[in-house]
């Protein structure tokens, strides 16, 4: 659309999705590394809501407003990384499709004492083929289960990294994102023939 690059030209935006259940530390993760305080946007989602939040007479469709927190890191003047924290419920599939389109990869944040919260996210990313990393948030530096137990419980493939990190620590979040980017690089290299 614009071919002239002025000093004020728009940067190339790239994004990484930060997923996981409620209260596992998604927003904390985004806040730890974002150069701006996380912003919140609201999106209205429509999805099949069979058996969940039964809305009475409106049977087949549920419209829900979900909040999504996000932040960004300016890599340089022409490149900007966005981090989107997503609501974790499986029934918000519509939003995830939108989010995942064009994403480099995903960090699935896990509370090791509540593993089942992350099943929808792991299922979704496995099916969509998005590179993802399972990052166990070590609340107060303690893991309720060791990483091998987490890997066994989630039954993720061997090539999916399972790591421990601290969502409050900028460098720990940075390192977790670097693992995601490593996987993203693998995908990009294997997908291109040059």
């Amino acid at each position: 659309m614009d071919s002239v690059r002025s000093p004020d030209a728009a940067p190339i935006p790239v994004k990484i999705v930060v997923a996981g259940g409620f209260g596992v530390g998604k927003t904390t993760t985004v806040a730890a590394i974002s150069e701006i305080p996380p912003l919140t946007t609201e999106a209205e989602m429509t999805s099949a809501g069979v058996g969940i939040d039964n809305p009475g007479h409106r049977v087949n469709k549920v419209t829900t407003t979900v909040a999504m927190d996000f932040g960004c890191v300016t890599i340089d003047r022409t490149l900007k990384l966005y981090l989107f924290g997503t609501p974790g419920q499986a029934r918000f599939g519509f939003m995830w499709d939108d989010l995942v389109r064009g994403a480099l990869g995903a960090l699935v944040v896990v509370d090791s004492s509540r593993l089942d919260d992350c099943y929808p996210a792991v299922d979704y990313f496995e099916q969509s083929g998005l590179p993802f990393v399972v990052a166990v948030n070590a609340f107060d530096g303690v893991l309720a289960n060791d990483l091998e137990s987490v890997r066994w419980a989630l039954a993720v493939a061997d090539h999916v990294p399972v790591i421990a990190f601290d969502a409050r620590e900028r460098l720990s979040v940075r390192d977790a994102l670097l693992v995601v980017l490593d996987r993203a690089l693998d995908r990009a290299v294997s997908g291109s023939h040059s």
Binding site: K15, M68, Y82, A188
Partner: protein, 150 residues
């Protein structure tokens, strides 16, 4: 949800009635309403005349948007405040998600309105020439940039 009796078939929400699926972008008719403050309980898609699909599927959360240079400043003043709020956030490059957060508009609504404003000549939507997902160079630059964080 109250529908005036006898006017519309039941089950159709009032804000979805008109107009019938505009094919061409940006019906500026929606902008002709007085630029007063919308009531707080306004349903979000009233602003888009009931459209729930953006005109441009390439507009994504992170897509960058800027004011188009030379856009007529006078025309913007007669717009609804929501559109003026969008224009105000786009003075420097900004993502659709940031516009949504700063203008306090639903994400879906924001995408549609940004598409409208682009079609009407007020905004530029910066489409990427290369998908970063398939670009090892871009990913390596992100990696190097993150490593520099301390």
């Amino acid at each position: 949800m109250t529908v005036p009796p006898g006017q519309e078939p039941p089950g159709i929400r009032p804000y979805l009635r008109s107009p019938a699926a505009p094919v061409s972008p940006a019906p500026p008719a929606a902008w002709n309403r007085p630029a007063h403050r919308a009531p707080d309980n306004l349903r979000p898609y009233v602003l888009t005349s009931g459209r729930v699909q953006g005109d441009d599927p390439a507009v994504n959360l992170e897509t960058q948007v800027t004011i188009r240079p030379g856009a007529p400043p006078d025309a913007a003043r007669s717009m609804p405040t929501e559109l003026q709020a969008i224009l105000a956030t786009c003075v420097s490059p900004v993502s659709v998600a940031e516009i949504s957060a700063q203008a306090h508009l639903h994400l879906g609504v924001t995408k549609i309105l940004v598409g409208d404003l682009c079609a009407a000549g007020f905004l530029d939507i910066h489409q990427l020439e290369v998908d970063p997902v398939h670009s090892p160079d871009v990913i390596l630059r992100v990696i190097h940039g993150l490593r520099a964080i301390s």
